[in-house]
């Protein structure tokens, strides 16, 4: 049967095949693409994403494709249920294109920690695409799909979006159902969207957002409005938090931000200085809370009921061998840190303290927005894409890649990255942060900036 959607399926298959050297995909099949096309064909013509092929990070469960979370412990695991977002994408007429490669269990900032090999940056294979949603970001940047789903716990869509030169949007925590997202840091995890353009990302986000009775942390809000680009930014106040513009900021990143700031001013926005004094505690706070929640979330991977089983002897030997061999070194480190910071004698010094510090970071944002600021603008990442292997020796060096994206995750507020330009051929991203549930304001501003900025231009 030849239909327009089957053509899309075939075209997507060809692009996926051509992009194989990136190692961005873990599972895809032409037959599955055809099945998606046929399913979408049966929908009415008005479906909002009709015919759009969308890549899905391999920590979002699907029935027809395996879900490995980039880990050996789930090699061959095929979920017996679909994540809510999969049902919603299909209801909107999208085609699930493939499952994408990621840092194992979404823990990482470079997609070098996958058990299935690292993902290569589409513009320079010696470099990383960012992480943990590097596979999804790379596919959108390479033009294989117009949009992709990733997940964020501490910036894992915004940061790769910045490295790869595409749009990455993290909604308010609770805006999108987590049912079917393999949990890493439950109070931080957000399914997030990559798009080639702001409009594409916005449309996908609108299709997947909404309360889900199967997710007790999803919030009841009116449906998101369609993107409405304003004529200008007159009347809008944009804050520039000084803690995000250190003196030693990478010159290419600084140049990209300066150009964008000038453009925002030209468009009529009022730019003001602001301080978020607890910013420097965000990464340490994150690296206590997220691993603690992760340690408990990953306890279920024991080889007993599903997944890849190892070891013989008694049941304890099964657990230890399965987990010791099945988890990679970064995941093991985080489980150990998480367990340590919750254990008797340490919980007060670490976990409880981190929760209190988190509140301080939340209050910094509230104070800024309460003072008349509509949005915050910052660089997304402290540098452009770094070389593979550059940061894998020191775990803390990798953690610091999240320094600008992690605070909004801790506060549960929406934030996004959009490409601002290139430095020595590598993309630089800028971040907008909005108050809770103000995605529309953020996306509208980003769309206007996108219109007035050549994201491929060299800024330095």
């Amino acid at each position: 049967m030849t239909t327009a959607l089957r053509d899309v399926a075939r075209d997507t298959a060809a692009r996926l095949r051509a992009a194989e050297p990136l190692n961005a995909t873990l599972h895809w099949a032409p037959e599955l693409l055809d099945a998606e096309a046929d399913r979408a064909e049966r929908l009415e013509a008005g479906a909002s994403l009709r015919g759009m092929p969308i890549a899905v990070k391999d920590n979002i469960v699907t029935v027809e494709q395996p879900t490995t979370c980039g880990s050996r412990i789930l090699t061959g695991y095929t979920s017996p249920y679909n994540a809510t977002v999969i049902d919603r994408l299909r209801a909107a007429g999208a085609l699930i294109a493939c499952k994408t490669n990621l840092d194992e269990f979404a823990m990482g900032s470079s997609t070098e920690h996958s058990a299935y090999g690292r993902v290569k940056h589409p513009l320079d294979p010696a470099r990383v695409p960012g992480g943990s949603s590097g596979g999804s970001g790379a596919l959108v940047a390479a033009g294989v799909v117009p949009a992709a789903l990733g997940s964020e716990t501490g910036g894992s869509v915004r940061q790769p979006a910045s490295f790869c030169g595409v749009v990455g949007v993290k909604p308010t925590y609770g805006r999108v159902s987590r049912y079917g997202l393999v949990a890493f840091g439950s109070s931080l995890d957000c399914i997030s969207v990559f798009g080639a353009t702001v409009d594409t990302a916005s449309r996908v986000l609108r299709a997947i957002a909404g309360i889900d009775p199967r997710d007790a942390t999803s919030v009841d809000r009116p449906p998101m409005e369609p993107l409405r680009m304003p004529e200008s930014l007159t009347g809008m106040t944009i804050g520039l938090p000084r803690e995000y513009f250190p003196g030693d900021l990478h010159p290419g990143v600084k140049a990209g931000c300066d150009r964008a700031i000038a453009r925002l001013r030209d468009l009529g926005a009022t730019l003001v200085d602001v301080s978020l004094p607890h910013s420097r505690y965000a990464v340490p706070t994150y690296y206590i809370i997220a691993p603690a929640e992760a340690a408990a979330n990953l306890a279920r991977y024991d080889g007993a009921r599903y997944g890849n089983r190892q070891g013989d002897g008694d049941v304890r030997a099964l657990y230890r061998a399965t987990r010791g061999l099945g988890f990679g070194p970064e995941v093991r480190r985080r489980i150990l840190i998480g367990t340590y910071s919750l254990s008797a004698g340490y919980a007060d010094a670490y976990y409880n303290r981190a929760q209190a510090a988190r509140m301080r970071i939340v209050q910094d944002f509230h104070a800024a927005f309460d003072s008349g600021i509509d949005l915050l603008f910052t660089p997304t990442a402290p540098s452009p894409a770094f070389k593979a292997g550059e940061k894998t020796d020191d775990p803390v060096a990798m953690y610091l890649a999240d320094i600008f994206v992690c605070p909004a995750s801790l506060a549960g507020i929406p934030a996004m990255s959009q490409p601002l330009g290139r430095t020595e051929g590598l993309p630089v991203g800028g971040q907008l942060i909005a108050p809770a549930f103000e995605e529309s304001r953020m996306l509208a501003t980003a769309a206007l900036l996108e219109r007035h900025l050549d994201a491929a231009a060299e800024v330095r």
Partner: protein
């Protein structure tokens, strides 16, 4: 020679009587084929999330109110982290430092100390684990997750009990309260009520508590008492021999009556509790709590006392009739239908309960029983005959008079008929008549019996007696 004081506290887990599980919509029914009442949530599959069951919360609140607890309008679910084959997520969703309820008490009749107020430290909600079977597959462990996720209420008493017998009395009272409140079946046999007992001893007069041990795997109230007796003895012997009590978990062997330590290490678990980030705080409105309070029936102690006062029943009878809410309801229905309270009490405690204990239902409707008791009172049927009639009464409320008639059991009270039988009996026993008239008045019983025989049991014994006496004393 030291006098030792025993200190006992009990942790009881009850399965709340909901139709679906605590955090997912799987059925809670007992006895289904293994791993058929399961879903991504209770299997602990990647990506699954919990959503709490409103009815489980309602029953938990109702149980806490029945125990006189303070309900906390905001409570928090927490993860209790440990590994075990029947714990699918590697943690149990429970409550830790912000439980549903605290600060209640239960009035328990101690065999030696009179009425005790046993404190309830807390009641919290949690999910059950699955079942591990060790002899199903040789050399391996078989796991059934049907039970994983079933709602439980954990009820923790204060260390207020001083004797194993008091522990048993506490359990009987607690079960009765929870069954009355309609929150659980509380069956130890079916596993819907489980008990862990904590016990320590100390020299009488010492304030500081001794080291306690915990006893698990108890399957009846009697065995709770036996296990505590055995462990108290063991601790006493140990201390009197100069030894020291180590904090252990013990298992009770019902066959040998002994306790022994579990083979695992004796260190206490580090459960690393933290608030479950998948579950926002559990919020209860004051209005809902009051609505649930209104669902509580009159509780056993109050009902017992009212039965004593209203129906003039002795304490023992009131106790038997209120042991079970269904029995109490039935008894009151019989009295409302017009029966004399004492006659009804006697009948329900004997004839009715025999049938109820066997079948779980009352064979006669309350109206029928009341009518039957009225027939006895009026002398229309004898007590013996009534027992036969009772067995023939169907549950849908037939008229006992009609049944009596059908069975030919209506008592004869017609003077003429009675006189005839009496004359016959007197004529047949002239020596006894003479002896009676000479002063052996107790022969009246024998003569009455003779008349009854001649009437094939149908004569009204009271009428017979009065005719007999009249005839014997005249002349």
């Amino acid at each position: 020679m030291t006098t030792w004081e025993t200190v006992i506290g009990l942790e009881v887990h009850v399965q709340l009587g909901t139709r679906s599980k605590m955090f997912c919509a799987c059925a809670t029914s007992f006895g289904d084929p293994p791993n058929t009442n399961v879903c991504p949530v209770c299997l602990g599959l990647p990506g699954a999330l919990p959503v709490p069951n409103r009815e489980a919360v309602r029953l938990g609140v109702r149980a806490a109110l029945a125990l006189g607890c303070t309900i906390h309008e905001r409570s928090i679910f927490a993860r209790k982290n440990y590994f075990y084959p029947d714990l699918p997520k590697g943690y149990q969703i429970s409550q830790f430092d912000r439980p549903l309820a605290t600060g209640g008490h239960v009035a328990v009749e101690s065999p030696e100390r009179g009425l005790l107020a046993v404190s309830i430290v807390r009641l919290h909600l949690e999910e059950d684990a699955g079942k591990s079977l060790h002899d199903r597959v040789p050399g391996k462990t078989a796991v059934d997750l049907n039970r994983a996720g079933v709602p439980l209420a954990e009820i923790v008493s204060g260390p207020d009990l001083r004797r194993p017998a008091e522990a048993r009395a506490y359990l009987v009272t607690l079960k009765q309260l929870l069954v009355y409140a309609g929150v659980s079946e509380c069956s130890m046999e079916k596993g819907s009520l489980r008990v862990d007992a904590n016990i320590s001893i100390r020299p009488a007069g010492q304030n500081r508590l001794g080291t306690k041990t915990e006893i698990k795997n108890l399957n009846s109230f009697a065995n709770v008492e036996r296990a505590l007796e055995a462990e108290r003895g063991r601790q006493q012997r140990e201390l009197e021999n100069g030894g020291v009590i180590r904090q252990l978990t013990l298992l009770f062997n019902a066959g040998t009556g002994q306790v022994r330590p579990m083979r695992s290490k004796e260190e206490s678990h580090d459960y690393r509790y933290f608030p479950d980030p998948d579950l926002p705080p559990l919020a209860l409105s004051g209005r809902w709590i009051e609505e649930i309070r209104g669902e509580l029936p009159e509780l056993p102690a109050a009902r017992r006392s009212r039965f004593g006062a209203r129906y003039g029943l002795p304490a023992y009878d009131a106790g038997v009739l209120t042991a079970d809410r269904a029995i109490a309801d039935y008894y009151e229905a019989v009295v409302s239908a017009g029966a004399d309270p004492k006659a009804a009490a006697n009948w329900v405690m004997t004839e009715s309960l025999t049938g109820y204990n066997e079948s779980g239902r009352f064979s006669a409707s309350a109206q029928s029983l009341a009518a039957l008791l009225a027939l006895i009172k009026a002398g229309t049927v004898s007590h013996q005959a009534a027992k036969k009639i009772f067995l023939e009464l169907p549950a849908d409320g037939a008229d006992p008079h009609a049944v009596a008639e059908r069975l030919g059991l209506l008592q004869v009270r017609d003077e003429g008929a009675l006189e005839t039988w009496v004359e016959e009996a007197l004529a047949a026993h002239p020596q006894e008549v003479q002896r009676y008239r000479a002063g052996e008045t107790k022969l009246l019983g024998f003569l009455t019996g003779q008349v009854m025989r001649r009437s094939q049991g149908k004569a009204d014994p009271k009428g017979v007696q009065s005719v007999l006496v009249r005839k014997l004393e005249s002349k």
